[in-house]
């Protein structure tokens, strides 16, 4: 539908895939919006850009972005992206997926990709539960929270994702909520400009499935929690950045450089090929 009224961001979206599947009040749209703003502001080469997602509500993002994209099996976005990045290091490869996908079923892949410093970029929509399957407990569900599989309150300790990413070796680590749209966009721009394994956790409302069981019926109420609890503390200790009902520490935690896996590997290959 080219014409006078085409939205300036239409080029970034697959019109035929819209309307999206997300509920009203969901944070996923905010994340996609910030992502597209970042792409636009950086004037990224969309022919050299790949978005990979796993399975979950946020996992549909790969389908919505009008670049080369792949929707993998549940939990396997990172190893798939690893294959892409190593095969064609000139591509910018971004994984956008959920807390369950990346840190429960796919948790092992996350820590190893971070350890190897594969130059892929990972954005996690942390909505504290498994949205897609109807709101079960996940690896980031707070203690005592009610979900369909913790009807008496959660007794599992949640992951602190920014701490996990830092300890695993990620070279860029940040956390924002969907309330912090400008900071999030700025952060995604940085993530896209870094060379090494980079990670952003986006604390995101799932009012439909998580919020309503935990006294936050609407997206607005969830955002109100984020507003009250968020504290911006750049480069604070990620180990102390656990998310609690009272406090959500947001900001950048890590921004360092070290050689990426593909730099080291291709360096070796160049030497070996020359020797032959």
């Amino acid at each position: 539908m080219a014409g006078a009224f085409e939205h300036p961001f239409a080029v970034y979206l697959r019109a035929a895939m819209i309307p999206h599947i997300w509920c009203s009040g969901c944070g996923n749209g905010v994340i996609l919006n910030a992502f597209i703003h970042a792409l636009d502001e950086l004037r990224m080469d969309l022919d050299k850009f790949v978005v990979v997602s796993g399975i979950g509500c946020i996992g549909r993002t790969a389908g919505y972005t009008n670049v080369d994209s792949f929707h993998t099996t549940h939990g396997r976005a990172i190893p798939f992206a690893t294959g892409v990045k190593l095969a064609k290091p000139e591509l910018e490869v971004v994984v956008i997926s959920g807390d369950g996908d990346l840190f429960a079923i796919g948790g092992n892949h996350f820590i190893h990709a971070a350890r190897r410093n594969i130059g892929i970029k990972v954005i996690c929509a942390n909505n504290f539960n498994y949205g897609m399957t109807g709101g079960q407990v996940g690896p980031t569900t707070p203690l005592e929270a009610l979900t369909t599989t913790t009807p008496y309150g959660n007794v599992e300790h949640p992951f602190n994702l920014v701490h996990l990413a830092t300890a695993s070796g990620a070279t860029y680590v940040a956390r924002w909520t969907t309330l912090h749209v400008r900071m999030l966009t700025m952060s995604i721009k940085k993530l896209l400009q870094r060379k090494g394994f980079s990670f952003i956790e986006v604390v995101s409302p799932c009012p439909e499935i998580y919020g309503r069981r935990n006294n936050m019926r609407t997206g607005l109420e969830m955002m109100e929690w984020f507003r009250k609890a968020s504290v911006i503390a750049n480069f604070s200790d990620p180990a102390k950045a656990e998310i609690t009902p009272e406090k959500i520490v947001v900001g950048e935690f890590v921004d360092i450089e070290k050689p990426t896996y593909e730099q080291l590997l291709y360096g070796k290959i160049a030497k070996i090929v020359k020797k032959e």
Binding site: L46, D47, S69, G83, A87, H109, H112
Partner: protein
């Protein structure tokens, strides 16, 4: 990439695992992701040494789930890609094998079969995964699987597996066993110009007209790769020709899944390969594959020496199953003998194809494949 280092033309003495790795490199494989497991480890080790010499990528992943996922990613990025494993790792790969089928990612998976179930017998041979390779992932699908009987065939069939994977955009399997993998034999590697290499079809239309899952007449869609400017989407969900999810549409599901099956079934006559030895007048037909086929051949020869009209039908392609060849051999035969290193797997397919001719399974588990005498005794018993 790689130049003359890629094809080690000449006569060699090598193990099956090494021959398999060399076959992959000769076929153009430039990406290997794997996780160590006996008896396939030497494939990974050899790839780790050889890939950099030809400008290719070797990566040891955190497990087999990641290995096959990375292989699919590399395939979509445009490289010929492979992984190699054995039973336990093969089980872990099953979900993403389905993803490779659904997204039509050309790739080669080597399963060096050992004794199972579970951790089973890491250092001993088996043929217990020959049904798993066909049915192991959920849903309806078809794949291609080859069964080498010698070290030379570990080289040749790996080349062939890549060609088939690229032709049909389907995961293709080399179903080896511990003996062909660890055995050392003479291998002749031909000059590059004598090795047939097939590459996937590329789209000939512009980005706006490209539909990643719109098949040609052969039912196989041309394949764009990431970074080539097509900006396409692929998903493991049921999808239409544009690659867009259409999970509620039974017509789309029928069209897609039927085509995924038909692109192999309708091309089966082109894919299927067998070796037929003395079948013309055979009263007793031995159907065998892999290392067991070598014992079967000597058993058949011995039977002939003693005046028993025996013949061998060696299955080179396990899947698609060479049912027509079995049916033809069964027409004149009184009995079919199926020796396998399992409790009875391929024999089920043989029975289906052989109709009224009885098929007798000769199981063998544990340490060694059947001796020629064991198969000969079965020929005698039923002949």
């Amino acid at each position: 990439m790689g130049g003359d280092k890629a094809v080690l033309t000449g006569v060699h003495f090598m193990s099956g695992d090494i021959a398999c790795a060399e076959g992959a490199i000769a076929a153009g494989c430039r990406f290997f992701a794997g996780y160590p497991i006996t008896p396939a480890t030497e494939i990974a080790e050899h790839m780790a040494a050889r890939m950099p010499e030809v400008g290719g990528i070797y990566i040891q992943m955190e497990d087999e789930i990641a290995s096959i996922a990375a292989v699919i990613g590399a395939s979509y990025a445009g490289l010929k890609a492979m992984t190699a494993t054995s039973g336990p790792g093969f089980s872990l790969m099953q979900e993403n094998i389905g993803l490779a089928v659904m997204t039509e990612a050309p790739c080669v998976i080597v399963d060096v079969m050992r004794g199972g179930p579970s951790t089973g017998q890491p250092t001993l041979p088996g043929q217990q995964d020959v049904m798993q390779v066909k049915w192991g992932s959920h849903g309806d699908y078809e794949i291609i699987a080859l069964a080498p009987s010698s070290v030379q065939e570990m080289f040749d069939f790996t080349v062939e597996a890549f060609n088939l994977a690229e032709t049909y955009r389907v995961p293709t399997f080399v179903m080896a066993d511990e003996i062909v993998a660890h055995m050392w034999e003479r291998v002749v590697i031909p000059p590059p110009e004598n090795i047939r290499i097939v590459n996937r079809k590329k789209p000939s239309v512009s980005r706006d007209d490209y539909m990643p899952f719109m098949p040609d007449d052969d039912l196989v869609p041309p394949m764009a790769c990431f970074g080539e400017g097509y900006r396409f989407h692929a998903t493991g969900l049921t999808h239409d020709e544009r690659g867009y999810p259409r999970t509620q549409d039974s017509e789309v599901q029928t069209r897609l899944v039927q085509r995924l099956c038909d692109k192999i079934r309708k091309n089966a006559d082109k894919i299927v390969r067998v070796e037929e030895v003395m079948l013309d007048d055979a009263d007793v037909v031995v159907v065998a594959y892999g290392i067991v086929a070598r014992s079967a051949l000597s058993a058949v020869r011995r039977a002939r020496e003693q005046g028993v009209k025996a013949g061998l039908l060696r299955l080179i392609t396990l899947w698609p199953f060479p049912g027509k060849h079995v049916a033809k051999a069964a027409e004149k035969a009184k009995a079919i003998i199926v020796p396998e290193m399992n409790c009875g797997q391929i024999v089920r397919e043989v029975e289906r194809a052989a109709k009224t001719t009885p098929a007798y399974h000769v199981p063998k588990l544990g340490e060694n494949p059947h001796t020629p005498m064991e198969i000969f005794a079965a020929i005698r018993r039923h002949g």
